[in-house]
Symmetry: C2
Subunit: 419 residues, 2 copies
């Protein structure tokens, strides 16, 4: 067995044992641990900033680009944010042990479901070291043990945060192995982590599309994954045009680099001439590049003709593709063909079209008259967000604590036997 | 591209297109199709029996064993049962489109969840041809398209049933491609089916452990799988001994070849001498072979000393392993070590021990004072059962129609934008 395989096997075994302890931990114990970790992080701010300084220096020396360095940097505000995030997780309701749907059956037994942790959660992420604290907190609150594997550029920061987490866990009487931060930068460690179903119950990759695709490809453990967000807004010919322009503007320009930003605007031909010129003016002020179908190019000036590729592209940038469609059916056909299944919205005052769109569009979030930017765990009231799942299996859309849990059946009897 | 790959790709593409139609089908349409299929199956009984006759002959000629031939055989009663099963599925509530947890958020949007189909379900099964009708019905009712792949020994029977299904679907105006029964016996078809994530959303293998392990190993599509059922009953020293003996007897002897039969009996040392001799007498009358720990061998006669392997074996036969343990903690430790996570039961009148057992035992069904034989979709009130999942991801325990669905978020707004 290679050293890395041996090391990861031991990490997995420790996680499996610790998971049994945290799965049984009472709410108060888990919350005490979360608050203790937050306290240690605050107290150790200087140590964390020093460790981060090493990563920042190495990053600069190796020529990391400015955006990556920005994400890598720990500042006093970021450290305070980590602690605050952990206290917020402590304040959330504990999902574990919740019993639902308890009913008597004709046999006399009572049957219901109890919410339970998944077991061991493996989280693989890139440069932001604050994910270490965030992911540890979410896993712990949901009664899971966690194995965290951050990017090699953040190794010193992540190990320093790991020290704080272990100190907090121990203070609360929970095993340090409940949260392990992989301390080798060897890439083979990831390959091991995603192929140990005996020790790991689910993998959550947080990072770029390349990372997620690679992991999904090679994992033999379930993966909660988030691929593209090619989100659509469809402005119906019975839309309230004031709402339509506000939402179409907000969905594109509120933030560009986010998965729930609109990438394609669909407009019913009946209102294209009313709606597009005004919107084009608004986008122009924000320097949003417009790429459109032939009709769009006729209706507004300065539009680049869109190619087939545009409809299938997540720009994550001030670029928008626009297509004029006949009606809601053509809009839904376009969405079925090009959407990544993340978030789609219809703007309409027509009851039947809204009802059909909600039912027939197969995306993780389907909206009527609201900005796609609302597709977010906090906006939905989940209290936390581990990611957004573009899969259908297990969990779909923004994933909160519940996404890290399962339900077992419980049966209460009084001596019943099968006849 | 090989012929089989080409064929399966086309099957997948047709399924994907049909899935969009059945996902939108109204409840009445789906029910009409289910009832129409039932009618056709009844009307075509002679044709089905004739096709089955070919399979039975080929099976006998090739030396299939009696148990397999028994499962392969269609009789007028089995055919009537298929039709009745479909009518029962038609009578179940439609899970699709159900909206839950709809709440207003501070932003003014209303957020909730809508239940949706998974899409395309691939079901791989062995000799019983009636699974063809059953699986088709469950997939259809839950708004999914299905690709069914039965065993090669049942090919004529399955194709004849497929004809009935297509006739019923067409009568109800739904696409025949909503249920496709693979008509090649080439093994490569299975390999294709489980590696087409673009066309197949979930695989459900129904069959022996070997089949399920092979499929889980090679699939790159989620698998709802059911491995061993090494179920335990623990008789606590505060058990009602009358309930204890009845349940321990029923859990082992009601049926032997089923996954929810007890395979290991754990008995608290405080009641071992009271409980085991009586139980041993009851088992003896049923010719159940007993294998026990040292203490068990001392307390009752005629017990074979159990080996380490016994604790980890699903006998599926009139064999039982018995272990005397100190208390509920030792019982739960034994279960944590050897259980397959299917079903475990404690017999006790003690409130705290029952509560702890329910919370701490990590199995898909955890019971107090009831026979493990109740771990079953029908007994739990699911109305149907596609299988029992021993996984935690997506669905755990008996899987009904809901296991073939997911939930998307829906958002109702009135022009809201993100601030």
């Amino acid at each position: 067995m290679s050293d890395v395989k041996q090391y990861m096997t031991e990490v997995g075994q420790r996680a499996r044992i610790a998971s049994r302890v945290v799965s049984r931990a009472e709410t108060a114990e888990k919350n005490a641990a979360l608050n203790a970790i937050a306290d240690v992080i605050e107290a150790q701010q200087a140590v964390l900033l020093e460790a981060n300084g090493k990563d920042m220096k190495a990053g600069r020396d190796s020529g990391l680009d400015a955006a990556l360095l920005d994400r890598l940097e720990l500042t006093p505000a970021v450290v305070a944010g980590m602690a605050e995030g952990l206290r917020q997780i402590a304040a959330l309701p504990d999902p574990i042990g919740g019993i639902s749907d308890m009913n008597y059956r004709p046999s006399g037994i009572q049957v219901g479901k109890m919410r339970v942790p998944l077991g061991v959660v493996g989280i693989i992420y890139e440069s932001r070291p604050n994910v270490t604290a965030d992911a540890a907190g979410l896993a712990l609150k949901s009664g899971n043990a966690a194995i965290l594997r951050g990017g090699k550029e953040a190794i010193h920061s992540n190990q320093a945060i790991a020290q704080c987490i272990h100190a907090g866990l121990e203070k609360a009487g929970l095993p340090a192995a409940a949260v392990q931060v992989v301390d080798t930068t060897d890439r083979a460690a990831v390959g091991q982590l995603i192929t140990m179903p005996e020790y790991v119950d689910v993998i959550i990759p947080r990072g770029g599309k390349g990372l997620i695709e690679r992991i999904s490809q090679d994992a033999c453990v379930p993966v909660i994954k988030h691929l593209d967000g090619i989100c659509h807004v469809y402005i119906d010919d019975e839309a309230d045009l004031e709402k339509a322009t506000q939402i179409a503007f907000n969905a594109k320009t509120h933030r560009y680099g986010v998965c729930n930003a609109m990438e394609t605007l669909l407009v019913a031909e009946g209102v294209a001439e009313q709606v597009l010129p005004e919107l084009a003016g608004m986008y122009k002020k924000k320097a949003v590049e417009l790429r459109g179908c032939l009709t769009t190019c006729k209706v507004i000036d300065g539009v680049i003709p869109a190619t087939e590729e545009d409809w299938a592209t997540e720009y994550l940038a001030p670029v928008l593709s626009i297509r004029v469609v006949k009606d809601v059916d053509e809009a839904m056909d376009h969405i079925a063909l090009y959407s990544s299944g993340h978030t789609e919205c219809i703007i309409t005052e027509n009851y039947t079209k809204a009802r059909r769109f909600l039912r027939e569009v197969d995306s993780s979030s389907v909206m009527v008259n609201a900005s796609t930017r609302f597709a977010d765990g906090f906006e939905y009231g989940l209290g936390a967000e581990i990611g957004i799942s573009t899969d259908k299996f297990h969990v779909r859309g923004p994933v909160g604590l519940e996404g890290l849990t399962s339900q077992k059946y419980i049966v209460l009897g009084d001596g019943q036997i099968r006849q």
